[in-house]
């Protein structure tokens, strides 16, 4: 058998990186995630009523996102409470590096504000977008408020909150 590329030696010890090949592939995958009992109710309330719901256990721990079991107490979370729409920044940044939005496959325009929001009434925080691109104007502890998309644009996703607006 003749060697298809005489530059690639038969002896692997003589191989060097100039002879390395790469095999290119593109894989496109489609998913449909079952949201489950808690997220289904949460997203229905968000889309239809503009309400942000969290789960509470009998010790009073309030978890956002809502979930079946409290990670702190281990108790079932069988009560719903409304939290926000105001809150406090627990962490924040302005992102300059491009990131492809996993929901759309399209690169989100940079720069954009991004932070962890502790909604009023909740014991945990959620990440979301901020309507601010000046790093000097954001900060841990600053007050923010949810800005909802118009009802007809909502789909039942955390993106039904367009972003959080800085109040301070």
């Amino acid at each position: 058998m003749s060697d298809p590329d005489p530059r690639v030696p038969a002896d692997p010890r003589e191989f060097n990186r100039e002879q390395a090949r790469r095999i290119e592939q593109q894989v496109t995958l489609h998913y449909r995630f079952a949201a489950g009992k808690y997220a289904s109710r949460f997203f229905a309330a968000l889309r239809d009523e503009g309400k942000i719901l969290a789960s509470r256990d009998r010790q009073g721990n309030v978890m956002m996102p809502p979930r079946p079991v409290c990670g702190l107490s281990g108790l079932p979370m069988d009560e719903w409470v409304e939290v926000g729409p105001g809150g406090v920044l627990a962490g924040c940044t302005i992102v300059y590096v491009p990131f492809i939005d996993p929901m759309t496959g399209v690169q989100r325009p940079v720069p954009y504000g991004f932070g962890l929001v502790r909604l009023d009434g909740a014991d945990t925080s959620i990440y979301h977008l901020l309507d601010e691109t000046d790093p000097q104007r954001i900060g841990v502890g600053k007050r923010v408020e949810a800005v909802f998309k118009p009802v007809q644009e909502r789909t039942g996703s955390l993106a039904d909150i367009r972003h959080f607006r800085l109040l301070d």
Binding site: V95, V97, F99, M103, Y127
Partner: protein, 392 residues
């Protein structure tokens, strides 16, 4: 807290690849390179190995049956082979699994290997798959956005400055110059260069972040009955600990500033190993630091200084090669980051320090070394290795 071992256990052999952009090797070849180096270093062959544990984050390359596809390369034909994926901790989880397989009395000699070939795949696609599809992906900003937000919380708590973080970035890349396996070796890097590098996400500059690397690292763990026959100076396992926190990114109230899983794992491991004053009792630490700010926060949470005092550790030189407790003489994650191998590299480096095999970045007279693995703030692995066989 009591030690769980039926059998005292030691790391008896270590090996790692040259890390970086390794277009010359396939993923399987890379894993085998580290395995061969570990075995050859002590004259072992695959016939000496009873079982294999392999660690990899499959989503980086999109190959999900590496245990089947690489069974030959991993040296596991006809043997038990356990594949793990525990995220960023996986290399350390692999070492801990090797430990449990030996310490339980099940096997005498177990091979562990962590490997990743990030240049094969898409780091962004992999990071997306670690987000909860229902709750987190709609508003993700990648690993860098997440670390930047965590850094803001840490800065608010501790007052650490961009200059102090930049000093950490400089220390890592200079230490890496003494490590022939490291990816980013930058002898002339300065604090100004870090601060002037591109802003990725405020306050994280490009040089504050770890790189994406290709690489692999391997260990052999052995029981006390055979450890001494394989290595003159084994690195004895004095303690292991794994602790998880709640699941979502926003569940830890102060993220980097107060790392509950790291604090919990450290408390357990120190208790098992009899460590009351880690700064004095440990001789070297290999800490899984994905960003400059994270190293200082992690040192605080490991009890190397008071909470909020991380900046002083770098200003006062406490964690340099010549300091009271050298941290990451290898250059750490800031210099080298093949994710599935990264925490195994911490274990390999800690073991090398105890065994006296660390070459130019050897810290003199290491009796006790600590290594950590980090998994997205939500869980931590710790292993403490020592020169002396642990007391019963």
């Amino acid at each position: 807290m009591k030690s769980l071992d039926a059998v005292r256990t030691a790391v008896v052999a270590v090996g790692q690849t040259e890390h970086g952009r390794r277009l010359d090797a396939s993923m399987a070849e890379l894993a085998r390179e580290a395995i061969d180096r570990a075995l050859d270093s002590k004259g072992l062959t695959l016939e000496d190995i009873d079982a294999v544990v392999a660690g990899n984050m499959e989503m980086f390359e999109g190959i999900y049956l590496v245990d089947q596809l690489f069974v030959g390369a991993l040296g596991a034909l006809g043997k038990p082979l356990y594949k793990l994926n525990t995220g960023g901790t996986v290399g350390a989880s692999t070492a801990l699994a090797c430990y449990h397989l030996v310490a339980s009395g099940r096997h005498e000699r177990v091979l562990g290997v962590g490997f990743q070939k990030q240049s094969d795949g898409s780091t962004q696609a992999a990071i997306t798959t670690v987000g909860d599809p229902v709750w987190e992906r709609a508003v993700m900003a990648g690993a860098i956005g997440n670390f930047a937000s965590m850094a803001s919380t840490y800065i608010a708590e501790s007052g650490v400055t961009p200059e102090q973080a930049a000093k950490v970035a400089v220390l890592a890349r200079r230490n890496a110059c003494l490590n022939p396996y490291a990816h980013l070796r930058m002898p002339d890097i300065t604090v100004e260069e870090v601060l002037e590098s591109e802003m990725l996400a405020y306050p994280i500059h490009r040089l504050d972040m770890c790189p994406s690397s290709d690489g692999a690292a391997a260990i052999v763990m052995a029981s006390e009955d055979v450890a001494g026959e394989i290595a003159d100076q084994p690195a004895w396992v004095h303690a292991v600990a794994t602790v998880h926190d709640q699941q979502y990114m926003g569940d830890s109230p102060k993220r980097l500033a107060v790392m509950r899983s790291l604090r919990g794992a450290a408390a357990k491991a120190y208790s098992i190993a009899g460590i009351d004053y880690p700064l004095r009792q440990l001789d070297v630490a290999e800490v899984y630091e994905p960003a400059s700010y994270a190293l200082l926060a992690m040192c605080e949470n490991l009890g190397f200084c008071a909470m909020g005092d991380g900046g002083r550790l770098i200003d006062d030189g406490v964690i340099t090669m010549e300091g009271q407790l050298p941290v990451n003489p290898s250059g750490g994650v800031l210099a080298t980051n093949p994710v599935g191998a990264t925490a195994m590299i911490r274990v390999v480096e800690a073991a090398s320090q105890v065994m006296g095999l660390a070459g130019e970045h050897q810290i003199p007279d290491v009796k006790l070394a600590l290594a950590t693995g980090y998994g997205g703030n939500a869980w931590t692995d710790i292993i403490i290795l020592g020169r002396q066989r642990p007391r019963r």
